[in-house]
């Protein structure tokens, strides 16, 4: 496996004090926080920073890691080269049996290097045969999943890929990439979570596995957008359709609909189609946001038609109407 230089990740010297490590971590956490950062790889960088800090902020893990780093340097693998830790590399360090179920960063975002040395499966490997090794439920995992709004109407099937680790028959830690097919139930809205019970990290000592939580995001679509269970769709009308009313065909995430546009409609008006939003026991509504498209005046006939329209409304002044509205 590839050796990870956690000091380099945090940008500190190998002899950095605990305070220097904490300051470097906070600075990077602010820089790469996925909810704030504009960096394209912020999420990935944040995961690396979290992993480095998990090791370097724990005195026992750091001491074991430093000892390992010296061995890596001897193998010439310190800077990202192929590295194999010697057996019992962590002998004498107390973190092996330390179980801190309520602390630490999210599970499931660590590198293979971390998983094999410090991960849950690695701890289990070190505890094998130890009388104190009790059962421990697997950690929950979290992942994001991008779906189309149409999936919220019909449900769908997605394959997601997860990284984790498990113990093989010989008790060795094996990093694994897991493909999981997920049946997406219909009716989900953005920000809602989908739970897959027992699909998180495996438990230790016969304890159950954790759960997998999928955070739903809708793929941007110029045709429509969702707000909660309501769907908003822009609908362009010809001027005469808006003025006289019309029956128009509208494409929605649920399929095609025939909609009656009332006479006297104007741009910016919203037409509500009750219950045509995302399905649920109380389904959302579908809002058509009306806009008016003007035919081009690019031929003599078209220009004459526009001029005739102008003559038909000699007193129509849209600026006056605007002024009357206080705009």
């Amino acid at each position: 496996m590839e050796f990870k230089d956690y000091y380099q990740v945090l940008g500190v010297a190998t002899g950095a004090t605990a305070d220097e490590i904490k300051k470097a971590f906070r600075k990077l956490a602010r820089q790469y926080h996925p909810d704030v950062s504009k960096e394209p790889d912020a999420e990935q960088r944040m995961a690396q920073v979290n992993e480095a800090y998990t090791v370097l902020s724990d005195p026992e893990k750091r001491a074991a890691y430093d000892a390992l780093g010296a061995q890596a340097a001897a193998q010439g693998a310190r800077s990202g080269g192929e590295f194999r830790p010697p057996p019992h590399w962590d002998a004498g360090f107390a973190f092996s049996d330390a179980s801190r179920p309520y602390e630490g960063a999210d599970h499931g975002q660590y590198s293979d290097f971390f998983e094999q040395l410090f991960g849950q499966a690695a701890r289990a490997q070190r505890r094998q045969g130890a009388p104190s090794g009790g059962a421990q439920r697997g950690a929950d995992q979290h992942a994001r999943i991008e779906l189309d709004i149409a999936d919220a109407y019909h449900g769908g099937m997605r394959t997601i890929h997860l990284r984790t680790a498990h113990l093989d028959a010989g008790g060795h830690v094996v990093p694994e990439q897991r493909s999981l097919e997920v049946k997406i139930p219909k009716g989900m809205r953005e920000g809602q979570l989908i739970r897959l019970a027992g699909q998180g990290n495996p438990g230790l000592g016969g304890a159950p596995a954790g759960d997998l939580f999928l955070d739903v995001l809708f793929r941007p679509d110029p045709r429509w957008r969702a707000e909660g269970r309501d769907i908003y769709k822009p609908l362009l009308l010809a001027p005469w359709e808006a003025a006289l009313g019309a029956s128009v065909e509208v494409q929605t995430p649920a399929g095609s609909l025939e909609v009656t546009v009332p006479a006297g409609s104007h741009a910016g008006r919203k037409l509500r189609l009750k219950g045509r939003g995302i399905p649920s026991s109380t389904p959302g509504d579908l809002y058509l946001e009306l806009g008016i498209a003007l035919p081009p005046a690019d031929t003599d006939t078209a220009r004459a038609a526009w001029a005739a329209l102008g003559k038909a409304f000699p007193h129509f002044n849209p600026r006056q109407a605007q002024a009357a509205q206080g705009a």
Partner: protein, 118 residues
């Protein structure tokens, strides 16, 4: 090279407004249940009261949105040794920024650029 294997299709469960128990929420945030109850009592996290018909007891239930929020608060507290109220205020601002960015994106997508005359 990571070992790869495939699991048959699993049906996901949609977490509605009042699905998660206190213990489930705590576990999904890698925190103790007391951490959650302290923040509910402080008004940092919202809960939906739910009455168990068998025992007539009122228990707390939590929504997806609360889980996402609780994980943000937990992460901010841990990363910056932040006071829970400060972490909650930062989370409020993050949620507001996300909402406004979404709104801005929709407005930018929906607003045609005006042609300027001579």
């Amino acid at each position: 090279m990571p070992h790869a294997f495939h699991t048959p299709a699993q049906l996901g469960e949609l977490l509605d407004d009042a699905t998660l128990t206190l213990e489930e929420l705590a576990r999904a945030c890698c925190r103790a249940p007391e951490w959650v109850s302290e923040r509910v009592e402080a008004g940092v996290l919202e809960t939906t009261p739910s009455t168990s018909p068998a025992a007539g007891l009122v228990t707390w239930r939590f929504s997806s949105a609360t889980l996402v929020r609780a994980r943000r608060v937990a992460q901010l507290e841990a990363t910056f040794d932040a006071d829970p109220y400060l972490a909650a205020m930062t989370t409020d601002l993050m949620e507001e920024v996300a909402r406004l960015r979404r709104r801005l994106r929709h407005l930018e997508e929906g607003t045609p650029t005006a042609q300027q005359g001579r």
